[in-house]
Amino acid sequence: MEEVDVEPTTTPIPGFDSNQKHLGFVWGPGDILVYETIYKASGGSAGGCPFVHEVRKDEDIYSPILRKLFNESHHIFVGLQRIREDLPSKNKKPQFVSISKNYRSVIRACMEELQQVAGIPSLSTLKGVISMMSHLSLWCEQNFNIFCTLFVVCDPLAGSLVLHLLDWVRLHKADVDEKAREVLASESPAEHQAYWDVVISYVLQGRMDEARQVLVKQAALQPAARVMFKLLDNLLMKMPIFNPGETQTLTEFDVKWRHWREEVDHCLQDQSFASNRHLEDICKILVGDEDVLLEYKELLSTWYHFLVTRLLFSHPTVKPTELHYYAQSSMHMFLDTRSVPEPLDSILLAAFEFDIHQVIKDCSIALNNWWFVGHLTDLLDHCKLLQSHNLHFGSNLREFLLLEYASGLFTHHSLWQLAVDYFDHCPEFGRVYLELQIERVPLDTERKALKVIRICEQRQMTEQVRSICKIMAKKALRNNRLGSALSWSIRAKDAAFATLISERFLQDYCAKGTFSDLDLIDNLGPAMLLSDRLTFLGKYREFHRLYGEKRFSDAAKLLLSLMTAKIAPHSFWMTLLTDALPLLEQKEVIFSADQTHELMFCLEELTSGKSVPTPDRPMQVLGYTPPYPLSNVCFPFNLLILFYNML
């Protein structure tokens, strides 16, 4: 069968003339920006450019309503993926059927909301779009189930195909019940304008009991024709309906049915209903008179209703393999002039041919969304109904469709989290798609960033984690939030950046004399080892803490080790030696003789081989000015050391 062909729609962009200007564009997340421009190489001026237009998919208009659909179907989807592979299929089948019904009810809820919304006056300009979506969702709701029924449930020999089709058609024509209620509630039902429409609609749908209930009203009005009405009532009551649960075989049913049909035919031949056109028509319908059926096109409203009614009254035991023949002919008879079927009609025809792949292909093209075809295909795949060969792009049809659907979800600011589960269940490309798209989730708040990171960490997407942390660190640094920047760098395991931020902390300390973000620095733990500078920062702060707690000898030991173990950068030694001064000035002896020697050694190392700056030229290292010029420190320092040695 030929693939359905759908013409691309043209979206008008206001305010500019295609004949005079070019349309520039850029892709965004979930939209495309367009602007008028002229592409040429020269640098001339060509007049101002008023607007940049943001163009979005139609779906975005009703995305608040779709949100519920997306959320709920996500839930069903995840549940479906968890059904155990190893269960025997007879256990799984009812589960699949129930899942199909669940999908149908979420579409139904969505469709009802859309219909409600279409009625809101302020949305009148969008009515066209909403009504189209509503129409499509109605179609989806009505047909999701029949596809599943045809493909999953239908047992070729069971003979219950017509029953399933009847159920489906009754879905489509649910409005007859409302009409019936209206008629029956009226003062004189039998004289209601829609009375006969209701009766005949019920007959067309094979709902004989309901038809009889309504007919009774007419019978009451015409006591003289009592016999005729009783006769029809009898015929309607006796119509055999195949019940797969009973022990009756198909052949037995067939015999009974033919018998009954002959009886109806007799009545027609006998002119039993000749005096009442309506009753006669009903009788003709019961024998499957196609011409009469076609007279009631309006009540049938669709060619597939015509098909099902035809089958009910002419071939109630039709086999699935014969279905497509009747479908084609029904469509032609019903639609008469139209030669090329609409895309949606083609899809149904393909379904009646049990050509699953064609159905999916055509749905992908004709329906304006990936939701329907993605979830349907996934369900059919679980039922093992799809050939799972790999396609051109490297994976199977199910994965292709789910990737499309999930990618669309990713552009929503809150629905992207649902998309993650879909990607998780696409074994070939799900991961790489997720890696690509999750990086683009805007990191508006720390909380959101952490949420994204957690998702990445759960999937060992280490590069994405690193990248996000780096972006957050960079943003924090730009806004001078050193503590935040540091903690993000640690999380990113970015040693270079951690070093940079540590130096900023140290610079700040030198400038202000205090540390910011003490909580963070005090609790670095093993993260301290990420970079030398960070280690120094942590240890240096520890020194200050020890000093504050008056644990002088511990502080002294630490201070010294910072220099001797080369943890402290040379540029900072001056500050450290200056920090040693108050320790040296204490009444009690804090530095041992050995330690004092080491201190001297450090001082010498610092001053030797380097030009000692004059008092007028403070030492500039990394933009920090030591509190005392070098020479100033050396003098009292040496004095103190001397004093010490004298003790």
Binding site: T9, V26, V34, L397
Partner: protein, 357 residues
């Protein structure tokens, strides 16, 4: 599709390029009025102009964002033969209140002798690298060795393409399976040299870029070129804007172990569309590479999509309707919605109804 919003761009001359930042929350526009404007998107989806400044002494052709790992950095290129790198600095508190930010020039790249036609950052895994191409036929690759000091850039490579260059595209893939790759398009009218698309590949041994492939079948002027995001495939996909839209597949052929030259490719044409009737000026892939958009002489933007059988089709057209846009432009940079406002109120109504139900 529909127009959700219209933003009064307020440039005094034609806009030549618009670029979204990595997360889609900011955009930059550049124009023949020699300036660049930066716009920020608020939570409600409105765009506000937060910076506008003169960047060059000639038309600004392209503007592009660096990856946010490097901070808030833009590059622009111009008819004035230069490219420039700009960094946003966090301003004074009253600037923030006014919703304004400052961008300062970190460097000007003056090596080109002619108009610089394209500027692109390399994929982030290569570090902070910027590439320009010029009408003088040279592609230049610059690197900032210290990402904290954006005033220091060194010219790492000069690739002489022999033809006037109009566009460049980096292969965005960071897979170790293949070396860095850059495609260069030429709009040169010289028919002596056949192929107008050249692919260069970085060689780890020589530490230079060497030509790997010339697409000889592309003989007309090329205006734009774009590698598609890789998504785990072993082959590369390249879209070209020339007298039509062309999509090529480049399949790397297996290298012999002794070979030290660039990769050899099997070049296949995947699709070709001439719906734009004449020249195609821009091509660009969306983020997931599921859609390609092109802009052409017919004044339209067309969207192209492949189904799972790899059959490409046009799935949408954007076209000017010739109508005047009503409504005052208001303050410079102020948001202005026409069709958009109807949608906005509708959106609110929908939100209300969805929330209430």
């Amino acid at each position: 599709m529909f127009v959700a919003r219209s933003i009064a761009a307020d440039h005094k001359d034609l806009i030549h390029d618009v670029s979204y930042d990595f997360h889609g929350r900011r955009m930059a526009t550049c124009s023949s009025d020699q300036s660049v404007k930066v716009w920020d998107k608020s939570e409600s989806g409105e765009w506000h102009c937060t910076a506008s400044w003169k960047t060059h002494s000639g038309s600004v052709w392209r503007v592009t964002w660096a990856h946010p790992e490097f901070g808030q950095v833009l590059a622009s290129c111009s008819f004035d033969r230069t490219a420039a790198v700009w960094e946003e600095i966090v301003g004074e508190s009253n600037d923030k209140q006014r919703g304004q930010s400052h961008w300062i020039k970190r460097t000007t790249l003056v090596d080109s002798r002619t108009s610089v036609t394209d500027v692109k950052f390399a994929p982030k895994h290569m570090g902070l690298m910027l590439t320009t191409c010029s009408a003088d036929g040279v592609v230049r690759v610059y690197e900032a060795p210290d990402v904290m000091n954006l005033s220091q850039w060194s010219l790492q490579h000069e690739i002489s393409c022999k033809l006037s260059c109009s566009c460049i595209s980096w292969n965005p893939s960071s897979s170790r399976a293949h070396p860095p790759m850059i495609a260069v398009g030429s709009d040169d009218s010289n028919v002596m040299y056949g192929g107008k698309v050249q692919i260069y590949e970085y060689n780890d041994n020589t530490r230079k870029y060497a030509k790997a492939e010339t697409l000889m079948t592309v003989t007309d002027a090329v205006h734009d070129i774009a590698f598609s995001p890789n998504l785990g495939r072993s082959f590369h996909v390249l879209a070209i804007a020339t007298k039509d839209v062309r999509i090529f597949k480049l399949v790397p052929l297996r290298k012999e172990s002794s070979s030290t030259g660039p990769t050899k490719f099997e070049v296949q044409i995947v699709a070709q569309f001439d719906n734009h009737n004449s020249q195609v000026w821009r091509v660009s892939w969306n983020i997931t590479s599921t859609l390609l958009a092109s802009s052409g002489d017919d004044g339209c933007v067309r969207l192209w999509k492949a189904n799972y059988m790899d059959n490409w089709k046009c799935t949408g057209i954007l076209k000017g309707d010739g109508s005047p846009v009503n409504g005052s432009s208001g303050q410079p940079g102020a948001m202005n919605t026409m069709v958009g406002s109807t949608v906005q109120t509708s959106q609110n109504a929908l939100n209300g109804s969805a929330a209430g139900s």
